[in-house]
Point group: C2
Amino acid sequence: MPKAKYDEIYMDLKQAIEKNTYSYGSLLPSENTLITQYDCSRNTIRRALAGLGEIGYIQSIHGKGVRVIFQPSERASFTVGGIESFRETARRNRLNVVTKVISFSIVTVEAQLAEESGFPIGSEVYDILRVRYLDGKPLILDRNLFLKAFVPGLTAEIAERSIYDYIEKDLGMQIVTSKRTITVEHASPQDKQFLVLGDYNCLAVVSGQTFNADGVMFEYTQSRHQPDYFSFHDTATRKKKEQFYEK
Amino acid sequence: MPKAKYDEIYMDLKQAIEKNTYSYGSLLPSENTLITQYDCSRNTIRRALAGLGEIGYIQSIHGKGVRVIFQPSERASFTVGGIESFRETARRNRLNVVTKVISFSIVTVEAQLAEESGFPIGSEVYDILRVRYLDGKPLILDRNLFLKAFVPGLTAEIAERSIYDYIEKDLGMQIVTSKRTITVEHASPQDKQFLVLGDYNCLAVVSGQTFNADGVMFEYTQSRHQPDYFSFHDTATRKKKEQFYEK
DNA sequence: ATGCCATACTTGTTTAAACAAGTCAAGATC
DNA sequence: GATCTTGACTTGTTTAAACAAGTATGGCAT
């Protein structure tokens, strides 16, 4: 799968860290050692290491070495982090998953929706409402808006399976960047109608935009999660500070 | 503040994008153009661009150019994203902030706490419980555990101001990496005692570990947020997929 | 023993060059 | 007109080299 050399090294080191070959708190072999080990240039090693730093596996210490800061987590299993589809997450956790389409329509984006979604006014979009069941329990209420021009031929049947499979495999479009916002909101009547919330009166809401390989935003999604099955992970470095716009 | 050349270019381009000099959907000048513009090598430009990609400002398209995908957000104001202290966030939003220390003690980490926090068993830690007020409203209940050996001389008085200021300015320790998990939990009796939750019966919980420049985890924090004032932002690229351990 | 310092490590930054590979439009060919 | 080719762009990957700067460890002088 990985074709770039730095990606192979990245994957290899990542596995080694996960398998505890390089354990938490210890230092990786020095860059020079890795250069001879992988027979490559220093830049290539450093690129692989940069990737591991981004996902919170390592942290380099100037003049000293590169420390492993990855700890295998026991809970951290069900996650909406990364760009991972619901199906992928479910499969990873060996869960039975069913998706039911509540409504499927085509709408034209007006001012308010444009503000909320980031789509330009007047765009034609598919508007899809779905409920996701895990092991029979309705846990997630999804509203997806897809730019019609970019996802032609989308049907309710496809939406019952995996829209992402359709987009990536059938349409050959690649998903690259995804921006998300997490909030906690009161449960709406619609939430209560379609989800089993138990005694929660609120839920976790993940709103996000998805961009394809051309840098075009073609999807806006709002996922409303039953709290028990929601967990989101993130790793930040000082670098990322102030990544959001200050008015 | 930025000393590295790639960081200057990064900051400069970032500002230009925020100021709409390069607008959403358009292409940046090509790498070669930027090279002459900034009088530097291609590597340096690419490093700056990589940084902008990480924070979701741009997305490069092979053979074509680099597209701007940053959209100024109107809401996205109060945020716990990035490594940003509560005070920084409050200042950014021009809010009045007060912190009240509920309890301040020193404990030895036993098995269960070790599991939860990631501290080794037997460590001595400060255990601090605080309530954060925004404009007079008690909105966040914070529990901080600090490795005593790394934050010597911490007092309740310091905790009422800013612990991070103390750590960074007085102790000269630099905070580098931070890992967080977001969940939604039922409000505990303690939550109800110290926070004003209105008719919410649950809250947003951010649990996180913080690492210093030596790659040592010296803090574990759990922040329990009143839902109205909680919003978390994230940008993911396909690269980051599977960043979490699969058992 | 204590402190200083040279030195041999480590990672951090920057430049330069070469080639691969994707995109696009103009021009040649059918 | 439709299609193919070419060439001039673009970004993607990799190597090489040099110097800066932080860390640790030894030995030397005090």
